[in-house]
């Protein structure tokens, strides 16, 4: 220290680094999470991640709930793509109960899941834009996320915390407006995504900003337990939809985009390409839906009398339906004993549900495998030695969502 500066008392240790609290309530964290950064100038020396600010003990709450009441809890994991979480949960329950769903239900689910994936990737990619200083693209694509939310609204009645679907299928059939809106989305969205790409993908300012920010090698990513777009960006083409197909994903033809270096730009490109793939999957699913004829064309749930509520007209008039109705709502049906793990390719990676049932009416233990929780552990390695502003971009390009991280 030079003479002009304040003289520290004799014997005191000079601290050469600055501590910066990024979060827990910071507009750039996009959620309640804390990073304690140790900065040398603008370079990051070390980071310390703190989680648990919105821990709501979902796994514990679930131990006292019948299966159907756990669905609204899963809404609040990754709230950018709530339908994916809901579907994952229903598929887990169906695996435990041994329910097989009709093909039409599978295809309807695929449509909803891929729409959710598009809306999640859309948010993530445009937020990467916002964090690197490009707000315009974010605003232009938001209308189309809005359209996706309107489709949810037609199906389930809600937009963000959807609580969509039931064990065995959907609560109601898709109406014509929902199909029209899906058609409209398929029609208009490619043009919007193209424009979004025009604004970002080959833009020098954006590329300079993202290339080389927060890279991770395939080996390190696997060691951390990365899945989903973040692992694919590192060069491993692992996709649960292909390696372990659920909900009839084996009937669809799509490719898996992979990156090479695992930096922010790769993650951006992988997510962008996945949106195109999702669009093509929705198109295929819509095509497959037209092939159902007669009574098959109106099927929207499997035959699970123990878990799927009887029709309202029957409940009002028939005794047996009323009894089932009461039994299901009050959660008085004992589940089969056993352990079950089911994972789906959520927007963020492999979202797994591990449920242990002791034959009671609620799960004895339930664990959510949340991909964000795993990504956040690698945060220090990704940001070490980079600039402070990269810390923000890495955070948004990993798509860290506090709700999913803390559960």
């Amino acid at each position: 220290m030079s003479e002009q500066h304040i003289k520290l008392p004799e014997g005191s240790i000079e601290k050469t680094t600055t501590t910066l609290n990024l979060g827990p309530t910071h507009p750039a964290t996009h959620g309640v999470m804390q990073n304690i950064l140790e900065l040398d100038g603008e370079r990051i020396v070390s980071t310390e991640q703190t989680i648990g600010y919105i821990h709501r003990a979902f796994e514990k709450i679930a131990e006292r709930r019948p299966l159907y009441q756990i669905t609204p809890l899963t809404d609040r994991l990754n709230y950018c793509s709530a339908p994916l979480n809901n579907m994952g949960w229903h598929l887990t329950c169906e695996k435990l109960l041994g329910v097989s769903t009709p093909k039409r239900v599978d295809y309807l689910r695929v449509i909803v899941m891929e729409l959710a994936r598009i809306s999640d990737h859309l948010i993530c990619n445009s937020i990467v834009g916002v964090d690197s200083g490009a707000y315009t693209g974010f605003l232009y694509v938001m209308q189309y996320r809005e359209l996706i939310y309107e489709i949810y609204e037609e199906i389930c009645g809600s937009r963000l915390t959807t609580n969509i679907g039931r064990i065995g299928g959907f609560e109601r059939n898709f109406n014509d407006i929902a199909f029209q809106k899906i058609e409209k989305f398929l029609d208009e969205y490619p043009r919007v995504l193209k424009e979004f790409e025009n604004l970002f993908t080959r833009n020098r300012i954006f590329m300079d900003r993202l290339i080389g920010a927060g890279p991770i090698s395939a080996e390190r990513a696997l060691n951390y337990g990365f899945t989903g777009p973040n692992l694919r960006a590192a060069g491993v083409d692992y996709d649960v939809r292909i390696s372990n197909p659920y909900s009839s994903y084996q009937d669809f033809d799509f490719s898996v985009p992979v990156g090479t270096t695992g930096d922010c730009y790769d993650r951006f490109l992988v997510r962008n390409e996945e949106m195109w793939q999702s669009l093509s999957i929705i198109r295929q699913a819509m095509q497959k839906l037209t092939e159902f004829k007669g009574a098959e064309a109106d099927v929207y749930h499997a035959d699970v009398p123990e878990y799927y509520l009887p029709k309202k007209e029957d409940v009002y008039t028939k005794m047996e339906a009323l009894i089932w109705h009461f039994k299901i709502i009050m959660g008085e049906i004992d589940m089969p004993k056993g352990e079950v793990y089911h994972s789906i390719e959520a927007a963020n990676g492999e979202l797994g549900y591990y449920m242990i049932s002791d034959g009671g009416r609620a799960p004895a233990r339930l664990h959510f495998r949340r991909p964000c929780f795993i990504y956040y552990q690698a945060y220090e390695e990704l940001t070490k030695g980079s600039m402070l502003s990269d810390a923000i971009i890495v955070m948004s390009s990993l798509n860290l969502i506090a709700g999913e991280m803390d559960a």
């Binding site: 389930c156 009645g157 833009n203 490719s255 985009p257 992979v258 730009y265 709502i329």
Partner: protein, 179 residues
């Protein structure tokens, strides 16, 4: 690492000479922005204009009446059991002789409260009701000055009586009929 034969590498070619120009990038961006200038507005003027909700929208709750204006709720408590947020409380009472024009069944809800601060609008109460009594309407939760105002009593939830206010009843029924 190759696990499937469906991998498709993303396009990461280095920038070419034109892409390296800042001016070109700025022009390209500006062109898109200016094009949006002349497009139809995506927003609406909210309090004056309202967007139509879907037929099945899950908004604030209402308690239904039958055509003679009797309350349908029989205080079975199924909605309270189904509620994942534990927002519904009720107290049952027995119908006295002479109250047949007020309550449809022999048992009714003397007190029925929904805490709108707890409610997550999942729609399970509507699904659970075996008496066609509770429905989610197409209105949003309005603002309030205090917390106590968000605890909706039975009188706040009941739809207008068809005997006294046939038009209000019809309007409320119209929202229900779709489901």
């Amino acid at each position: 690492m190759q696990l499937t034969n469906r991998a498709k590498p993303v396009d990461r070619r280095p920038m070419n000479a034109i892409e390296r120009l800042y001016l070109w990038n700025i022009l390209k961006g500006m062109m898109i922005t200016i094009r949006h200038f002349f497009k139809k507005k995506a927003t609406i003027q909210y309090p004056e204009q309202k967007r139509p909700f879907s037929q099945v929208f899950r908004g604030l709750h209402i308690l239904n009446r039958d055509e003679e204006g009797r309350e349908r709720c029989t205080a079975c408590g199924l909605c309270a059991v189904a509620c994942p947020a534990e927002a519904i409380t009720m107290e049952a009472a027995e119908r006295e002789p002479g109250e047949e024009n007020l309550y449809r069944e022999e048992k009714y809800a003397a007190r029925y409260e929904i805490n709108m601060l707890r409610c997550i609008f999942c729609g399970y109460c509507e699904e659970a009701c075996p008496k066609d009594a509770i429905y989610l309407s197409q209105t949003f939760a309005p603002a309030n000055y205090g917390r106590s105002g968000f605890i909706y009593k039975k009188q706040d939830l009941l739809i207008p009586n068809p005997v006294e206010d046939p038009e209000g009843f019809k309007k409320a029924q119209g929202e229900i009929a779709r489901k």
